[in-house]
Amino acid sequence: MAMPMESPISFTNIGKAKWWQRGIFASQTGYVLIALAVLLVIMHFASPYFFTEGNMQNVAKNFSFIAIATLGVTFVIITGGIDLSVGSMMCFSAMITSMVMTELSTPGSYGASLFVHMAADGKTVLANVPGLILLVSVAAGLGVALIAGLVNGFCIAVLGLSPFVTTLGMLSIVRGLGYVVSNGRGSFPGGPDADYFYALTSGDVLGLPVPFIYLVVLALAMAVVLHHTSFGRHVFALGGNEKAAELTGIPVVRVKIEVYVICALAAGLQGIIISGWLGSAPANMATSYELNVIAAAVIGGANLAGGIGGPLGAIVGCVLLEVIRNGLVLAQVSSYWQQTLVGVIIILAVLVDRVRSRMI
């Protein structure tokens, strides 16, 4: 069955799609990217403040605050599912992280003796191992996200419940638990490791906001996972044709649980980062953020019917939303218009995709 190296088939009837009809050029992500570029140019002429370093840093920081969660939800959307619990998940993870941190840093409270001791002056609290409290509290925050993700995945993949209903329930459950553990009060990251916490969540490295750096690293990792591992291939296959995925022996249940866990972890991490920027984790934090996150993913080209999406689209969607928000503020338009405009853009982006796929 040795075949010559050149193509064993002659393509007489089957033409090759032109370069502009393939890959990113033929995707919603492609022309939303173009729309974004146009918007940036318009903004440049509309406001002299837009392209200043300070404003750019602001924009980068602000879109990073929803973009990591958007990466996570994009995984779920590619499989044809949806996760409405991301907003609540952000809040709950942030809350658990700062509560654990405060608890472990208060001498005399449960387990604190392992982590902190009093300084000689009897007032200052010192960490036994610098950074350990931070590590444990972030792990706790991500741990609750992991559990919620597993429950979502189990209900959807094993019990066969609809993703919409399951995660709508989880939205309420997790938000409720947040109020239960905090009694409705906000919590603040405190103790000897709080400085590290703030540095790692809202600091700058070489002029770049830290959340932006996390975002870029995670997006690159996501691109590799989606396009160069069999897990990513299976995620796409699941969204394209779930029955086919099952018949070809793909572990459908496992892949589904994994995407909901990834999504919950991304939301949890996002929440922890936001709380660092806010300086607290109020019980009503990130309320209705799930809508922004899903809107950003959809504007960036993720298809709610499944099978299409990626990290670039997720980020482009978030940037577009943030640039519009920022631009409206700079242009001194009432910020109440913002939501209306976001809605218009969601519909426009999907509409353009519809028109394009009809033309081919």
Binding site: M3, P8, I9, T229, F236, A237, N241, A244, G249, G307
Partner: protein, 254 residues
């Protein structure tokens, strides 16, 4: 030709296969065998038991009675993956393709080729595209491995689904209504694909409603009616009229 095939060991041998779903008897006492390189047409009206039989052979259902022997040894499947592991492939009626993936990705779905980079196992896109192109070449289908399945014609989709069965060197390929929903020219292509499989010594079971297709490619035809096998004849000893009579019940058995 028939004589030489008869002396070879059958690749699939069913004895007394029966299946009940609750009070419904879907299959009863089916005996049949298929030899390597033989194309067998499985015909019957809706509800005759064709699909149940195919699903039993493919590992979707366990038979209530009877025995399946594959290449001489008795086998039992609990999942379709088990049947695939020993060399039984099914081309499903809806082809089980993911539209949003490329032809090569579909061929290798669930069996991706990987290369190790330290702790990571990354997809080997080049090797998969090359092997897929090779398979399309064998099937003489003008299909590019990197094209998306959603942009393909019905015949190309069939080729992708069939190429998938060639990955593992399957010894029995069952095709469920492969010509039901495609154009005349594409039917020719699919029948050509079946000939390719036969040339390579693969046994093929063709489940079809289309009489001309069955008579064009099959060596033997098996007719099912009301869950029982009513006829099992070499194709040149029967006629479309007789098969129709057997399917409808105008003729009880042959």
């Amino acid at each position: 030709m028939v004589g030489s095939e008869a002396t070879r060991q059958p690749v699939l041998q069913l004895t007394g296969i029966g299946k009940e779903f609750g009070a419904i008897r879907a299959l009863h006492g089916v005996d049949m065998q298929v030899s390597p390189g033989e194309v067998v047409g499985l015909m019957g009206d809706n509800g005759a038991g064709k699909s149940t039989l195919v699903k039993i052979i493919a590992g979707n259902f366990r038979p209530s009675h009877g025995e399946i022997r594959f290449a001489g040894s008795a086998v039992q499947f609990s999942r379709p993956v088990d049947a695939r592991a020993i060399g039984i492939e099914v081309v499903y009626q809806d082809l089980a393709l993911a539209d949003n993936l490329t032809a090569a990705a579909n061929v290798f779905l669930g069996r991706e080729l990987k290369r190790r980079f330290g702790p990571l196992a990354l997809l080997d896109h080049k090797a998969m595209a090359a092997r897929a192109l090779e398979l399309f070449g064998e099937l003489r289908s003008e299909t590019r491995p990197d094209d998306l399945v959603k942009q393909m014609s019905g015949g190309q989709r069939q080729a992708v689904a069939i190429a998938r069965t060639r990955l593992s060197n399957a010894r029995l390929v069952m095709m469920d209504e492969p010509t039901a929903a495609i154009s005349v020219r594409q039917v020719e292509q699919v029948l050509g694909l079946i000939h390719r499989l036969k040339e390579q010594g693969v046994a093929v079971m063709l489940i079809s409603h289309r009489m001309p297709d069955v008579f064009a490619v099959c060596d033997r035809v098996i007719v099912m009616r009301r869950g029982e096998k009513r006829a099992d004849k070499p194709i040149h000893e029967t006629s479309p009229e007789e098969v129709t009579a057997l399917i409808t019940g105008a003729k009880e058995a042959a």
